[in-house]
């Protein structure tokens, strides 16, 4: 009898945790600067010799369009542009593995299907005479599987992506300056 009571008590406690307590607190350090902050800032920023912040922003917007992004939001007076694009997230290897697992265990094959990239660009005047403009871009993405569930929420930290972005931005600034 006593054993049963304890067992029931245990079930109640566990079930209440499972049903109600699944949302944990905010991770420690989510809002503090990390040792990598400076490294990321350098990776995500470039300085351009220009006094014309608007021109630089126009070049940024043009580049985002080149890359297939749709502009979502902009506030030129603060130097902000926000854009996003939806693309397929299907990777051959993952799909094959999913189907293999599904035939083995049964049930549907679950694999990543869609992804949404978001980019925010922030510009600011720099230098004593404000004769330079710093451009900083940050990217992130969400991935959904073929069941409509979010499988990845991540920021993009790959240095190559940022290098390539800024190479293209230099080109875009040149093209915009020459009205091409």
């Amino acid at each position: 009898m006593k054993y049963k009571f304890i067992a029931n008590f245990f079930v109640i406690t566990v079930s209440s945790f499972l049903l109600c307590g699944c949302v944990g607190g905010i991770p420690k350090g989510a809002l503090s600067l990390s040792p990598q902050t400076l490294e990321w800032r350098m990776l995500q920023s470039r300085r351009f010799e220009s006094k014309d912040e608007k021109k630089i922003l126009q070049a940024c917007a043009a580049l985002l369009q080149d890359l297939g992004f749709s502009l979502e939001e902009s506030e030129t007076s603060l130097g902000v542009i926000v854009a996003n694009k939806d693309r397929s997230a299907v990777e051959g290897g993952q799909v094959i593995a999913a189907f293999f697992l599904a035939t083995l265990v049964g049930g549907p094959a679950v694999y990543d299907q869609n992804q949404k990239f978001r980019a925010s660009i922030v510009t600011r005047p720099f230098g004593e005479n404000e004769d330079q403009i710093v451009v900083r871009v940050t990217f992130q993405r969400r991935v959904w599987n073929n069941q409509g569930q979010i499988t990845k929420r991540q920021r993009i930290n790959d240095p190559k992506m940022y290098q390539e972005f800024f190479e293209k931005l230099s080109k875009s600034i040149f093209l915009t300056a020459n009205e091409i």
């Binding site: 067992a7 029931n8 079930s15 049903l19 109600c20 809002l31 980019a119 925010s120 993405r141």
Partner: protein, 136 residues
């Protein structure tokens, strides 16, 4: 079988008494929340402060969602295995100060713990080169 019924009954008893619609106006203690989420800074330059807030958010790994200079409000989202959404707003306080208020939402819950806000304002005051004053 009996345990399954106990499991289900407990669930209904513990969670089922509030409808999810009630969440619309649900929040913690208003005054306490404001003091946790608000700081004042000795500056009147709202645009510069907003630009520093944008830079701080980017430093913290956020992607900006929205910015409005006139309203003085900026929203941003951080994805890092989780989703953290933040709105920061700036408005004048008296003749010499600005009031900065931040509120955060982690996954599907409001952040009401003081520590994350303290961390945010520490990062912001470093970038502003100004001390953050607690609001009484």
């Amino acid at each position: 079988m009996r345990q399954l019924i106990t499991f289900l009954c407990t669930g209904v008893l513990l969670c089922g008494c509030a409808t999810s619609q009630n969440q619309l106006l649900q929040a913690g203690d208003q005054l306490k929340l404001r003091s946790i989420q608000t700081r004042t800074f000795d500056t009147t330059d709202s645009v510069k402060t907003q630009r520093v807030i944008l830079a701080t958010l980017q430093d913290l790994g956020f992607v900006i969602d929205k910015a409005d200079k006139e309203l003085g409000s900026i929203s941003a989202t951080k994805l890092d295995g989780f989703a953290l959404k933040m709105t920061v707003s700036v408005r004048p306080k008296g003749e010499t100060q600005l009031l900065v208020r931040a509120n955060a939402q982690y996954q599907l819950k409001a952040v009401e713990d003081p520590q994350p806000y303290q961390n945010f304002f520490t990062a912001l005051s470093k970038a502003l080169f100004l001390e953050a004053h607690q609001v009484e």
